[in-house]
Every structure is written in structure tokens, then in C-alpha cells.
Symmetry: C2
Subunit: 190 residues, 2 copies
């Protein structure tokens, strides 16, 4: 009895309902939100999810600015022409990186973890790029971001409306993008 | 009876065991693996997770090359001096992007989803950067990657050994990296 493989038993009995795979499979990009505020406890979960991401050389170069003041959100939506819907979101988080080895890669890993935890909480988001130099400058000024830091994106968040459900997530077939051992031999024929 | 709010009832009864937050919280970087092969069904889940990532302008610029031939893995570990442990992994997936608007950001979002699903399956990985130009060139040649495409990383995968458990995920305190409305006012004091 002393040698019972307890870990193995526990694992085989593990139930996996709405787990990470299902979260990833069901997530879609969302540009309109319910007006309901996002509770601070939920915001914290989202922030922690970003912070737990891996980063190049473990530099953890991220800064997250949480904006929920309606006037600030309105102003952000006015400046960021590719993300006017920010004005109508109850929350936005600016992702800033400081002295990163690979800034966009590190940002991408953190924000994806944030998006997935947010999705699991019933929220949606849409990546807003800020590559028009003048818009980027104005937002950095508005949010007080130090000049040497890089503002990668503004992520608006809000509870999803019903029309998000079942919208699906269309993608290129796996046979076009997967390869076995060398580029050109499909890994999966689907 | 015809107007019973069925969706709301189903939601309130939803159980959330090992869900996405817990997966993100527990994940650590892994550089040594059990020799056991990774079943194709698991590899497919990981590939699908990458494919479901969002991408800039929805370009879906990814290619994934699945390498499990021991001779290929050995050769990859010889070339990639920052990832010699690839030689001892049962599997590696090369992440390649083609004509991407924001290649590193798109790669980061896809690979993070892959890493999380892999973690959920009992696997671990470690990002191997390939920024030494000559090493990158040699690996592209070995894997037959077209010249115009960008090889972002090789991700070795394998089942985690027991010494991964409980290793924790140390990070900078949230008060240093979170801000309320403007940069400089901590969002969370923890």
C-alpha cells in the first residue's frame, strides 16, 4: 500500500471542462462591449496573467497602465484612429516595454496570456496597434509614459455582447501551415 | 416557462477546475525532458492552438515545422548554441513567419498559446532564440525554409520531469509594473 502511485491516480481522475484548449479555441476578437465596469479583482487576474509570461532572458520588461476613467478612454479613442471603439470600452490596458531584448515578442507573449484570462472571465478585447508615430507620441504623453519606453498596444476590454457567441474563428487549413521534418511536407492533412 | 433564461442558468452551474488561469500561473520554462515521444494527437492540439492565435490584420503568417527525427534534433542542438538541449528533446517545433505585418508580435501570440496547451498536456518547453545570423541561416537550410521567411524560434517540447513541480515563477512585484490611469501611480500595492 505504501507504494501506491498517488500522483498517477489523481491525474487519471482529473476532469477537464472549460480548460485552456477550449478557451483558446473559442476566443475571438471583440470590438464592442457591454458598458458594465470590470471589477478590480478581474483586472488583477488579467494583470497577473501578463506578468507570469516568459520573456527574453527573463527581463520581464513589461509595464501595464490600467485606464478606466471615461474621459481618458474617450481621449484615447479620439487619438487612436484604428481603435476608436476604445472610447466605448469600460477599460483599456496599455502595454509598454522598457529596455526589452525582443520587445514585440515579449509583449505578444504577455498580452496573449492576458487576453485568454480575460476571455475566461467573459471579457473580450481587440489589439490596437499604434504605429502612426504622431498618435503613438500623443498617447505616450497623455499616459505619462517615459520617452525611452515603447508603447506596443492599447487593449480595450469589456464584457462581451451576445453577438460574439458562436462567431467562430476561421483559419487557414493546417495542411498549408504545418510541415513534417522539413518545410513542404504537410504534417496534417486537414 | 418559455422565457426561462437557459444560458444564464448554464453559466452559473459551470465548474472551473484546472482552467486557463491556473495553467498560466503554474507554467515554468523547462529545459530537460523525459525521453518519451509526444503522441501525434497531442502535437495536433499544440499546432491548432498556435493557428487559433490572433494576428496583425488577420494575416495568419505562421508556419510550423514539426521535427521528431532524432538525427535532425541532434543536428539542431549542435547548430543552436543557445539551445543545445534541443538534441535531447523528443520534439521541436520551428516557428516561421512569412510576410507578416508584425512578425515577432504574431509569433509571440501563437507560441504562447502553443506553450499553454502543451503545459496542460504535461509538456514543457523553452524558447530558443536564433539571432546569431550564421546559426539562423544553417537551420533554415537544414529545415528547407524559404529564404524570404523569418525563422523566429525553435521550441523543443517534451514531458516534464518531476523536478519541474513546484519550482514557482518569480516575478517583479505588481506595484512596480502596474499603473492607474497614468504611468507612475501603482494600480496594485502587492
Amino acid at each position: 500500500m505504501a507504494t501506491l502511485p498517488l500522483v498517477a491516480i489523481a491525474r487519471s481522475e482529473e476532469v477537464k471542462p472549460v480548460e485552456v484548449y477550449e478557451c483558446i479555441r473559442s476566443r475571438v476578437t471583440v470590438r464592442s462591449f457591454k458598458p458594465d465596469p470590470v471589477p478590480e479583482a478581474v483586472v488583477r487576474r488579467v494583470l497577473r496573467a501578463g506578468r507570469w509570461a516568459p520573456s527574453s532572458r527573463n527581463r520581464q520588461p513589461w509595464h501595464f497602465i490600467v485606464v478606466s476613467d471615461p474621459q481618458m478612454l474617450k481621449r484615447l479613442g479620439e487619438i487612436a484612429t484604428s481603435g476608436r471603439f476604445i472610447a466605448d470600452a469600460p477599460l483599456a490596458i496599455a502595454i509598454v516595454v522598457d529596455d526589452a531584448d525582443r520587445p514585440e515578442l515579449d509583449a505578444g507573449r504577455a498580452l496573449q496570456q492576458m487576453e485568454l484570462v480575460a476571455w475566461d472571465e467573459g471579457l473580450g478585447t481587440c489589439f490596437v496597434g499604434l504605429r502612426v508615430e504622431e498618435q503613438n507620441r500623443q498617447i505616450k504623453e497623455l499616459l505619462g509614459i517615459p520617452e525611452q519606453m515603447e508603447l506596443v498596444t492599447l487593449l480595450p476590454f469589456g464584457y462581451r455582447t451576445d453577438d460574439t457567441e458562436g462567431r467562430g474563428n476561421r483559419r487557414r487549413p493546417l495542411r498549408e501551415i504545418t510541415h513534417r521534418e522539413r518545410f513542404g511536407d504537410p504534417y496534417i492533412d486537414e
